[in-house]
Amino acid sequence: MSTALDALFVGRIYDSGRAMRRTTLRHTHLADQPLGIAMWRLGGERFRAAAIAWGPLGGPFELAVAGEPRNRDLYFAALAPFAADLCLRVRSAADAKVARQRGRRTELLPAGALQVVVPNRTTVGALGLLGRYLAYLSDRGGVTPDPALIEAGKHLRFYARHARVPGQALLLPLDRLVAEHWATLLSPFEQANLAALDAQIEPPAGTHAFHASAAAEALARIGPEPTEDIDRVTDALLAEFNTARGGSTDPAVVEPLARPLRDHYRRLIEPVWQLMDHAVARERRLPAAPSVQRRFEGDREAFGRHVDWMAGGGRYRTTDTPRQAAMTLRRLEDALARYDADKAVEDAACMVPYLLDGDAVRGVVASVNEHRVVARVRSVRRALMTLDTDDPAVLPAHKRLWWTATAHDHPWEVQAVQPHGLGSRITLMLDAAPTPARLPGAGDRVTLSVLHTRPDAYRLAPPLEAPWTHRPALPPPLPEPIDTGDAEPPSAAVDGTALPDPGRYT
């Protein structure tokens, strides 16, 4: 992102008191009714969702509160409805298939895929850890865990891992979605607070975006990691709950006793739910970019592969082999490059940073002529274009640029750059035989950039055997349960003010 554009945004937002749009289009798929998930953990307990809310956004949410989430029986009993519902929704989404033709091969893809929306990236990590915990559960006292918990754990783990793919829309953290579409006065660190972001975009009338977001930041609690004030209340309620239940895990006993804790978490989740609903509704009002559907098709493909894999048991490695890690990294880097290119090619506002940084030029086509040139040994037809840019351009000879209208096709190569009025006159040669679709007309206003949407080259898969430099001393362990310690008695809460140095436990 160009710093000049960022500086402009900051200046204008300061001046106008409201956030500004970074894009003219929405670059992420939004389902009609995505499944919302919001959660709160117990402080410091990475695997314990003290409360988890879920349901189609736009409607009311279901709420699971274990009471004492560090008690395995209570925890799993509370999570069971969530797990069962998640599994049902995943299976239903994968039921209907559509055929896709790839060359002579016909593939069946899920017609849809369950989209999950969460308030922030921290929740993505929290769901991933919860998934890791549930995906491989061991028997306890000869009792097999609820299969729905295991299945839901594998789904959550898949979703959290897939969330790393740039441009994906299966698991959508709203802080990232909103920050991608809007420029605000918030630094990247502050953008993690969805309430602050929202307040900058739609501050109350008469309030500057800065003051609105500062107030929201001080008051709003988004989760999943609780602040001190929240867990002080939780601590008191949890102590009452544990005393009253006297060690019982009988639902008939526990259910009514957990009501104060449920009310406590409902109060916390309600504003978050409204905020998520509001943010999704606002972003949905932006028209979707053309490539959104293609990216979501990639998501559906990954979703379909996951569901098929689950039918066979669904065991995933929990630690990548070096080969898997290399392939994953390449896949993510390719996805990022393609996502950036898609955005800039389709959305003129996203091209502005590239124009400012000298990675793109915009101007009026002065002429387009056909010539014959000798390429290697044969004389071939080539098009030469002269482009008069609005601003001075600095480009090396032979630099390859793609016209945004044919970003999926061949590039134009810079032949010469000369001063012309206030801008430059650039001569470019098309790197392929000219066809009408590949040529702009004289007088057209066009943009060319270093971004393209065609695959760079066919990529060979890495060797099956990693080179010795990347071979670990021990092979990665097979997936194993991590729940051995979850029967340990819960640690007592400790008031930091009673300790000489509470920061030691940060």
Binding site: T3, A4, L5, D6, A7, L8, V10, G11, R12, Y14, D15, R21, T24, L42, G43, G44, R46, F47, R132, Y133, L185, L186, S187, P188, F189, E190, E202, P203, A205, A214, A218, E228, D229, I230, D231, R285, T319, A348, A349, M351, V352, L356, I482, D483, T484, G485, A487, S491, A492, A493, V494, D495, G496, L499, P500, D501, P502, R504, Y505, T506
Partner: protein, 394 residues
Amino acid sequence: MSRRRSRPDPGAGTALDHVRGRAPTIRPNVRRLAAFANVHSCPTAAVAFAARVDTNRALAGTGAEVPYGQSPFAIGRGVAFEALLRRYGHAELRKVLTDGLGVDFTIAAIENLREGYQPNRTGLTLRASVTRTRMAEIVAAPPEPIVLDGAVLRADIGGLAAFFEADEMAIGVAGEIIVGENKSWPVVDGRPTDEDALGAALDQAATYVLLGRRALDQAGVDPGRVSGNVVLITPRNTGLAPVLHRQNVDGRVRRVERLLHAVPEVSDIAASVPPSVTFDRIADVSLPEEARLEAFAEITEELGRVYEPASCLTSCGFAWACRQCVFGAGDPAITGGPVARALPGVASLGRVAELGRGAPPSVTEAPAAVPIARAGRLYDEVMPAGRPGLRRPA
């Protein structure tokens, strides 16, 4: 590394007492030092650090108080994990050290320096002395390793003595001293569940390595005996069962060394701070909030401030108040350094907006103005004007 002064200036202490006023104090520790490392270029933060002002509590009760408090469950987990390592004669600690280091710790001497000493400066001085003595014993090659639980290392921070408490120090492991840190966040599949916390823990351990090497150097013992491979003990998976990890922190040690060198001398600060500067009014809870924040703004105006959201918001209790001042002044630093650095010669954000609309720049603004104006023109060219229907009803 040599300091500019080896003895604290008594007059400096008095001057800094005045600077601190009634503001809450904080003892320097490794986390405070790490937090200061993130903001050490800020003059206000430097003065507050030298005067031992607890920036996290100085603005308590105002809207600018940054909530740094921790969940009692998170603290409870940390306390429980340490208790687990210590119970039954440090049985778990012995086991995890034996398994992780490949040296038998079952009959190692473990000295718990957290017990039996007063929780004050005198106690810390004694613990530092015991730590130094035990470390020097490495020369005598003790037959069994020694573990110091709660070792204390003394350091000179900006000309004043400070004490740093390490979780463990294992002495005499194959002729080396190994620094250890205990953290209660879990490791799953060999990976930390909190990468930022891992970085912070390794930075702490690196500080202890550096201070331990200095202590050996002063005792005439080869400082290289303190290993750059530190030990991190964390729970594994969902329970509290400990597991040991080893990590080299030599790069971090060099960074900490540079940082300690950059800590301003207390006496220099005391001599340079104008007499009018005091944090007294900022921390005065009897004053209305506006008066306290106004006092803060006056101090930062006088001393200067460097606001960098990424580091200030995670490390300095003054961050929200500072952000308010930055906004009030229309300072381009509000969203961070890259934007501020893109605007040399431009006085305020209001002026940036004008330049973005094509206002003629002054001579000093010219270098920054051209790209801003171009950005404004390009953005306006592609963005439809107005956003009907987005404003919330009043």
